[in-house]
């Protein structure tokens, strides 16, 4: 988690300015014509009716890869938005926020990983004399 935060910070501080403060949804729709493997050819993000809001509020400022390389719960994505609002000058997403979160939580949710051994869980530590 800490590493991911550092990564996001690094990437976002590398961006000098957003291309547009807030592009219109209409403009975004014009840019999403090409489709590859069920994903928008430009952003590489999954096609969905809510993708346009993600493009309007997210990928104007940072790479869509910053989304697609990460996996968070809805609450986790909300934390990223709040963090970006507090530190990265992200604006209030208004009515689009739940739609953006719907999208992120749907397509970029945590995945169970195929670990060959899980970390040991100790129910109760005890003193052994």
């Amino acid at each position: 988690m800490k590493n991911i935060t550092v990564l996001i910070t690094a990437l976002i501080f590398g961006i000098t300015s957003c291309k547009t403060a807030q592009q219109s949804v209409e403009e975004m729709e014009e840019n999403t014509a090409a489709v590859v493997d069920g994903k928008d050819a430009i952003t590489g993000l999954f096609l969905d009716e809510n993708l346009k809001f993600v493009q309007a509020h997210c990928t104007g400022c940072h790479s869509s890869k910053l989304i697609s390389m990460n996996r968070f719960t809805r609450e986790g994505w909300k934390e990223k938005i709040v963090w970006m609002q507090q530190t990265q000058k992200l604006w209030d997403l208004g009515e689009a926020e739940p739609l953006v979160l719907d999208y992120l939580a749907k397509y970029y949710a945590p995945e169970e990983r195929s670990l060959r051994r899980q970390p040991l869980e100790v129910k109760e530590w005890y003193e052994l004399n």
Binding site: S114, R117, K123, W125, E127, L128
Partner: protein, 410 residues
Amino acid sequence: MKKNLENRRSFLAKTALSAVGMVAGLPVVFGRNLPENISPIGFLKDEEVLPGKHPDLTILNNRPWNVETPAHLLNDDVTPADKFFIRNNGIPPATTDVNSWTLEISGESVKQVKSFTIKELKSKFKTHSYNLTLECGGNGRAGFYPSASGNQWTEGAVACSKWTGVRLKDILQDVGINADAVYIGYYGKDTHLSGDADKVVISRGVPISKALEDETLIAWAMNDEDIPAMNGHPLRLVIGGWPASVSGKWLSKIVVRNIVHDGSKMEGDSYRVPKNPVQPGEKVPLEDFKIIESMPVKSLITYPKTGAILSMDKKLNINGQAWAGDLEVSGMQISIDFGATWQACELRKPVNRLAWQHWSTEVQFPQSGYYEIWAKATDSEGKSQPMVIPGWNPKGYLNNSCHRIAVKVG
């Protein structure tokens, strides 16, 4: 797993408060079948346990009962009755009259159909006792990913108790079997969860060669006492080294077959693994499965219990049990550095064939911190336990990966 269970129990307990007679919103339709002193899981209080069973056993399922033993409770060389796991497929018989109980021997390949009372078995045939390792084929299922359906056993669906009875081969010799006999199958008096009296719960078996081994017993006693109700009283098959599902409980009939036994849970994907290794998650056609026979080499750390915090200045004694299906365990090692180095342990010979073997060692930790102790047994054919989860299979059988415990050294 335990955590999940606790969450579930806690959830169910809360549910129970607002829905008397319901568990998780469902009526307790089999309530009348519950043995006395047993509550449905939603109503279990901490102090309530299965009669005759240790309170610290982990209940995975209560209809049918599936209860496993935490590794640290398997430290006894001979597993006491209260620490013997429970793997039921149906509902145990409500009444078991020892005096009227009979065992029928029949099937295509017997020369005659014959029945014996338990008293007749005791008087007619020589009594034998063996310590026999019984392990559920699905022991360790919880370790597989993608998850395999079924009871999510972790490590403790295994035990090695002293069983007393008569040899199946002596009975079959008395009855007489034909040269075309290839398999035996069992039938028991447990009843199906659906309540359908005609539905066979489970009827598995073994090839005739395994059935005729000295250690294959028709047993009436565990550790010189009556077999516990949940473990098959008053009579059961005990066939060590193979999936414990071949050791039929509440035994009433043995059939000698001229074909591979085709009883309930012999076919489909039950107690079967793919003939050839498959990719995790792969769909496997039924014709590509084979019946599990001998269980693989495996071991447990039974002392200390995981989670021990100890001081730097002391050596830690570690011990456990090891077994290898039809084979013997020939070597036992532990590692405290995730397998970078291994240390040989003292390993006892089995008290008889198919009994588990006690092992022990002591370890000095080089510096303070968090450690995992990993245990690895090697069988008489040189096969060892894998450190990672072994080959995935659709039903999650045969996970014999190294057991490990966590220790903190201060």
